[in-house]
Symmetry: C2
Subunit: 226 residues, 2 copies
């Protein structure tokens, strides 16, 4: 108290945040006590209180120093005014995978505590969403659709929801999905290839041979691409 | 007790299940008491116990008589051995929207209590997943990919996860999504058109003009479809 903080102190604080966020993602915030965070970090509960005072302030720190950082790293490079729609979307997907690689707890925490109603980070996280950028993304897609560059059947304001769903859900539900599909590869490279392929092709204008949504008919001949 | 049940009794039981599932989806199972279910149904707690004995048996009934019915209605018509991959996928998407139309509580309950780790219906629901059909779906997609009919970059064992994500996530997160995008239309027709377009086009083989995942370059000329 009163002394100047040492680098080591910040490491201790960072470590506490890392441990807390991993426990929150694994068990849920409501099921995790300060005593458990302290025990898992190898310190006393008093030390957790020293750094974060209250549980609420710990949650504030977590959102500001982890979730908001994740949001910024995904959205900061977006120039929705000038970016090519496909390149913009691919960049967002790539940076989402980058950040979930660095923050492997993110998909679970996002599912449990951010998008889930009653999630304890919902309001706090909402305040950090770069609303202008998200709106710009939708406008960019709308322009691409209007100019004929993108699939005319897409709904511009729903596309970012689709991106989030495709990238985050398989990671957030990896355990149960792996149980259902023991042969499924959920490594980043496979998942990213799949998501990028589905979005890139799905956003593109249909080729002449697949321009219509095919009607379900067992008689439809299977054509090889020419 | 001992008397023959009347049709009216079954209506009362069905009504209790409907009320319970709506409350569970809205507040979470852990946050909903039998007394609250009784009050919202206009009956006494004793009546809830009369029909379902215990809270656990109420959850069993809910999974068997609601969730399992939903799973079956989606998967029953699938003939993974013979269906065309695109038609099969489109049929699953259409039936998912049919069932979420009839069971508007389903996406929230699915997010909260089925896929969420620690969800209280997770194990019960898992037992009702038609594992053979889901595996057959993956094999069907793999055959379509191998024969050149489908996008070669797709991962067959991840595609059903993508379908689920695209259909269920926007509905499960409709409230927060609408708050972020007040102009977004989340009505069934718009959402279904968007999802079907993204999947149908995304699963198809790329046209010559969009065969490669484009490299992000601001110099890439924007081509109108010819």
């Amino acid at each position: 108290m009163g002394r100047r903080p040492h680098a080591q102190d910040f490491d201790a604080r960072e470590h506490l945040l890392d441990v807390a966020v991993a426990l929150f993602a694994e068990r849920g915030i409501a099921n995790t006590t300060v005593a458990q965070i302290a025990a898992a970090s190898g310190v006393t509960s008093a030390m957790v209180h020293y750094w974060f005072q209250t549980r609420e302030k710990l949650l504030d720190a977590l959102v500001e120093e982890r979730l908001a950082v994740a949001f910024d790293s995904i959205w900061e490079p977006v120039d929705a005014e000038h970016d090519d729609p496909l390149a913009m979307t691919q960049g967002i997907v790539r940076r989402m995978f980058d950040i979930t690689g660095k923050m492997p707890w993110l998909p679970s925490l996002w599912l449990r505590e951010v998008i889930n109603e009653g999630g304890l980070l919902r309001e706090r996280a909402f305040a950090h969403i770069p609303v202008q950028k998200v709106a710009g993304f939708g406008q960019n897609i709308a322009r691409g659709r209007a100019s004929g560059q993108l699939n005319a059947q897409l709904e511009p304001l729903l596309l970012f929801n689709s991106v989030l769903a495709l990238v985050m859900l398989p990671q957030a539900t990896a355990k149960i999905w792996q149980r259902l599909n023991p042969l499924a590869s959920l490594d980043r490279a496979t998942l990213e290839r799949h998501v990028v392929a589905l979005l890139t092709q799905g956003m593109s204008v249909a080729a002449a041979t697949s321009a219509q949504v095919p009607t379900p008919s067992p008689l439809r001949p299977k054509r090889k691409p020419s």
